[in-house]
Amino acid sequence: MDPFLLEALLNGVLLGGVFALPVLGLNLVFGVVDVIWLCYAELVMVGMYTVWFLHTQAGWPLGLAFAVCLPAIAVLGLLLHLLVVRPLLGRPPINQVLATGGVLFVLQGSATLVFSTDFRSLGVEMPPMEMGEVFVSGTKLAAFVAALLGAAALWAFLKFTYVGTAIRAIARDREVMPLMGVDPRRIYLIASAVGGALAGLAACLLVVQLDMHPFVGLSFGPITFMICVMGGLGNMLGGFLAAFLMGLIVSTGGFWWNTEMSYVVAFLFFILVIFLRPRGLFAR
């Protein structure tokens, strides 16, 4: 096979791994709380600045900055739920869309005020790895492995713990949960914190790959939402698979044409899916 195509395919898989985390986080929150966090990519952006600030400005070791970013964004998710989402629960959905959309602008604006619109980068790069005929970025490979580990941890949490099982149950039937001894409000809080933690992990993996600026969320936010819809909103496995599909489309699109064109192809594919399978690729 053409080594360049092989490299594009490989990069697509690696990219899919990174898309998967925010997709899982959004789906988790949507499945449980029934609210779409429009500002999800901006939570990731805040996480990226957190790592950048702690590492380059405060001089912390990178590992420690990562370790702080995860719980910090988890707390941000918690606050988002407590301050913005909870007061609007039970209202028509447009309210929550507008409110979390408002948070998006607040976060972008705050980041601009604090950090200006300058592009920043962490300046960390791992040596590329040679696999047969193709070269893979060591950074991307490490990010991919970390993303898979994060997804696996989430899976184990949802599959084996009491809270995780209740999270999967509540996504289907909210009303009977108190009969099981479950306080739905507590489950909402936990899901929001886990959703935030996933954004924090995504931030750690993106900050080593992307230059950041207050609007960096725009470069992966829209595609994250597209993947969620393609996989079926709230469908974790569907979203996970769709993330890899989208990664392959974007990356091989760049091989056949060019990077800008690859996003056009991705959007066209998305529109096609919405026409043919409006409830998601994997809806039964």
Binding site: A169, R172, M177, P178, M180, G181
Partner: protein, 204 residues
Amino acid sequence: MVGPNGAGKTTLLRVISGLIRPRVGTLRYGGEDLTTVPPHELPALGIAHVPENRRLFPHLTVEENLKVGAYAKRARPHFAARRDHVYTLFPRLKERRHQLAGTLSGGEQQMCAIGRALMSGPRILLLDEPSAGLAPIVVRQVFELVRHIRQEGLTVLIVEQNVAQVLRVVDRAYVLETGRVAAEGSAAALAADPAIRRSYLGVH
């Protein structure tokens, strides 16, 4: 508890298990007023409710449904023992423990719903029309089960349309009509009451 459609039987059970708050009146259980207790704390107090239409989690396995039933902190340490007890009550559930609850037969789903309620270790079990939509043989099994559960020392409050059959497995019965108790007494007395026989037992 028996009564015509729309009498308020389900509503009463939902009030007892806290899904609805009464606008007036009190609800006493062991001297405690339950109307101020948050609904999710009621299972820990010993009240379990098998809702109308079972309301299983169809996309979870049988065993995962049981696990959700044992969610309360106080129930978790007893998970394995209670699950095994449920499996001895319903050997079919054990055979199907890794199967999705949505793929069970109607009778098996009812067993699973009752098993899920037993996982919290209740002292009172509320059953809302457990025999609805089941084949006659399975209906008989459900009533056998009610008899068995009672022998284990649980109090059962059962709402039923199968009046003749349910009167054979209970001590006391209440007839609810438009939200009021229209008649009450021992099961034997009600089964002998001419008015009840005419309205609910199809005897003219």
